[in-house]
Symmetry: C2
Amino acid sequence: MPLRFRTAGVDVGGTNLKVALLWSDGTVIAARQIPTHAEAGPEQGCRRIIETLQALAQEHGHGAEDLGAIGVDSAGLVDHEHNLVLDSPNLRGWERFPLAERIGAAFGAPVQLENDVNAMAYGEWRLGAGRGTRHMLCLALGTGVGGGLILDGRLYRGAHGAAAELGHTTLDLHGPQCSCPNVGCLERHIGAEYIATRAREKLAASERPSRLRDLPAAAITPRSISEAAAGGDELAAEVWTEVGTLLGQGLVSLVNIFDPERVVIGGGVAKAGERLFEPARRVVRARAMSLAARTEIVPAALGDDAGLVGATLLAVERAGGAAGATP
Amino acid sequence: MPLRFRTAGVDVGGTNLKVALLWSDGTVIAARQIPTHAEAGPEQGCRRIIETLQALAQEHGHGAEDLGAIGVDSAGLVDHEHNLVLDSPNLRGWERFPLAERIGAAFGAPVQLENDVNAMAYGEWRLGAGRGTRHMLCLALGTGVGGGLILDGRLYRGAHGAAAELGHTTLDLHGPQCSCPNVGCLERHIGAEYIATRAREKLAASERPSRLRDLPAAAITPRSISEAAAGGDELAAEVWTEVGTLLGQGLVSLVNIFDPERVVIGGGVAKAGERLFEPARRVVRARAMSLAARTEIVPAALGDDAGLVGATLLAVERAGGAAGATP
């Protein structure tokens, strides 16, 4: 197999599908996004993914037959050995459909399916903010709080591929019911919806001026709270200090458990930047065990492509490609 | 190297030192316990360990020169690459003393030092309650709550050897200060002292009959609470239900993070048995994510020898012994 060869990556989300051509070292050649239309079912989605990838390959001067590996990442619980999504709340009806295998068969390429945050962790570790570490945790902050684990230089999946539910660790055993069967989870405190609720509650609890008051309730989101904070809004800034403190409290448990070199944090909510990271680091420095408190806590570097890139690198590695060898 | 050869193990605790001759497959040939006399310092302790081991070897018909490997386990933070204890609250003044290297040099044998709960986890995994698993968590319940991690078939130590502080994961971010810099840790809820305090508080809060009322306050310990519960004492039984529920709440986070096949729980407090395990399992089944909730939660099998056996097996493995090959 040549040192560098052509590959493809597919990111399967509840809203959008992203399809890309990449070199086997993870460099993106070209990418295209199409709506998922989850309700139309997986057969239809699969056909559109294959067509989009074929069109992309032709436009970029090579046939669809020379792809050395295809990586697919999807939200939900993944059986990565059989390349099946077992459970995915945002893609009901797509479960157990052999999407990845169908795509692989269409291009005669070996394929690898991976959970989206696992794939993001692997991508960040190989090419992003986790480069050079041996033990790295990854958190994806959004509507949910997902996790990925690189331990002893390998992606850790657990006994059933269900590991790394870092958002479903307890912060408060007396806390409110989470969307999972547990109570008081990290996700139940810092998921996007709870950040918005926190802001609305702060607005309701006082008469303090805030530009968030000009927005309809539904427009109060992590993004608009970030924008307000960036514009000097004190109430909005306080929301991020509180959320960062809660994130830090969740990280205390995680660094005490893993003693990792680095925690890489991405996802839409992480775009709040230092307003979120600074208080989180402060709590970890103050409350984690001495050596674990040294853990670096940094923003993700690959943006929205991390999952697609990571899944592709995992597919290259499984296919035995030299460019995918573990560093 | 022969398939099975003679080895030794040394367990270094704040109260007692345990010295044993073992076969390289982990079978204990003979063991002896002597007081640590921690205050007399590590030079003196080291000399007595070596003398005891020499005497044990002579009594059992072979010279001290034929030990193929020596494993040492110690409480505290261990630099296992340099065989040094870096920090050990119960062995102040012994830190950074090259105890393991001195013992190895006295017998001309390769040596391996390991943290006691890491060694216990490895021992239980190879020969005890964790046999046959690929991902196993180990908890040692006593004054403190220690942890050990077998992940992807290997002992996981983290970036600084400080990983697996499973007792220092947050149960309650509004909880009381722990002995560590964090608040509301699992250890702060189910460490031996807090179990005793819980029983005393229950006694003080009501007039309910309990045989624990016959004991002086200092005699209310996990052991006496277990004995009372075994004798039908309802208040004592309730203490274990509450402690087991809290343990289970701590395990929810851990199984969501690791999706392990099994959690092995030992240490003095675990001698409470099913009164502790049953409520813990119930909470995990009810509150963990679906696949992680399948994790088996079982008592440790090797008793007090687990650390010594595990350290010896690690030493055999490092020495390249066939009997120490990872299964």
